[in-house]
């Protein structure tokens, strides 16, 4: 997993490390509805990546969330350059 994403999940959202499995769902990792908004805000502020709440909600697993953020970051960087 992207180190910055891992840091946000563990240090900012305070999700328990032992529940953070790449093949586990966001719900299993401890996400609730507010955590999805918090993650969206933090991705924008910290990484400059715009990912909507609904996009995050559609990620079925932490691995898909990680890929989604990578893809959005690549797309948005390409658009800016």
């Amino acid at each position: 997993m992207n180190g910055e994403l891992e840091s946000i999940l563990l240090n900012d959202l305070k999700l328990p490390a032992d529940r953070l499995a790449m093949d586990g769902s966001l719900h299993e990792a401890g996400f609730d509805s507010l955590a999805i908004v918090e993650l969206s805000l933090l991705l924008g502020d910290r990484l400059g990546i715009d990912v909507s709440d609904s996009d995050i909600r559609e990620a079925a697993t932490i691995e898909q969330l990680d890929r989604l953020i990578q893809r959005k970051g690549d797309e948005q960087r390409a658009r800016r350059s």
């Binding site: 900012d12 609730d32 509805s33 507010l34 999805i36 908004v37 918090e38 969206s40 805000l41 502020d45 709440d53």
Partner: protein, 322 residues
Amino acid sequence: MHNPGDATAAVICGIGAALPSRVVSNAELCTRLDTTDEWIRSRTGISFRHVTGADSSTEDLAVQAAEQALAVAGATSVEAVVLATTTPDRCCPAAAPAVASRLGLTGVPAIDLAAGCTGFLYGLATAVGFISSRTANAVLIIGVDRLSTLPARDDRTTVPLFGDGAGAMVLRRGRLEDDGAIGPVVLGSDGTQAELIQAAHPGSLQMQGAEVFRHAVDRMTSACAQAVAAVGWCMNDIDRLVPHQANARITSFVARQLEVPDSRVLGNVDLVGNTGAASIPLLLAQSASDDRLQAGQRVLLTAFGAGLTWGAVTLTWPELAS
């Protein structure tokens, strides 16, 4: 020698608060709502809230808090009353003249203002205006709400959030360099987002929690930065951040964005829930009485509420009579 009439700052000289005696725990709510203590606490940080019964009104709470603030100020009278509420006992007339008369202040200018949970900060700006325009030398501001009346009785997502209460503050004419002087008041609104928090009448509240969270964080964070810059401080100067108490997750997110450490953030949402316009003066009064807030500390107040409305202001906490 300064002529006192030349002083146009508004300076805090009294603070007070009132809560209804009935306390409703999460466990009690769980007996009638499809929710759990863990669900409520993890999403809101709230464990208890105070709720008025049929025998107590918005005006009763306002009078109780005001009497305490006037006693702390050592004042028997003020020259204007500003009352911020979204939940008055009746739509007409306003509560402020009635509250003023119950306090023995018949004849003074007295107005209500509605700015949701930002009402107290709008009230502060109004009081500063009364003083600088020489309408009054001393102003009583009351923030009071009975937000427990707004949600539908069986709405498990909003009922746990709200409690009832009042907070009051007395401001006197003074000088900008005095401890307790109100700094530049930053205020804002966005009516295009009115539907995020709305209630056509008591018992009909609708709230879009995720969007409210996003706007609350953005607006309070930027209002705080503006208020601190306007007074020439930096965020590291802030000894106490006093955010409107709506949800512990929002306040901790705002504090983290502002890089204000948790040890400098005051809160009471766990014990009182969201008390609307009462939230900030109630938290100030409780914190001053238990020494979490002390004279000389640099304080940053911030709020966000229905409207949308938001605001922030700085001050240095003054020495007050206990």
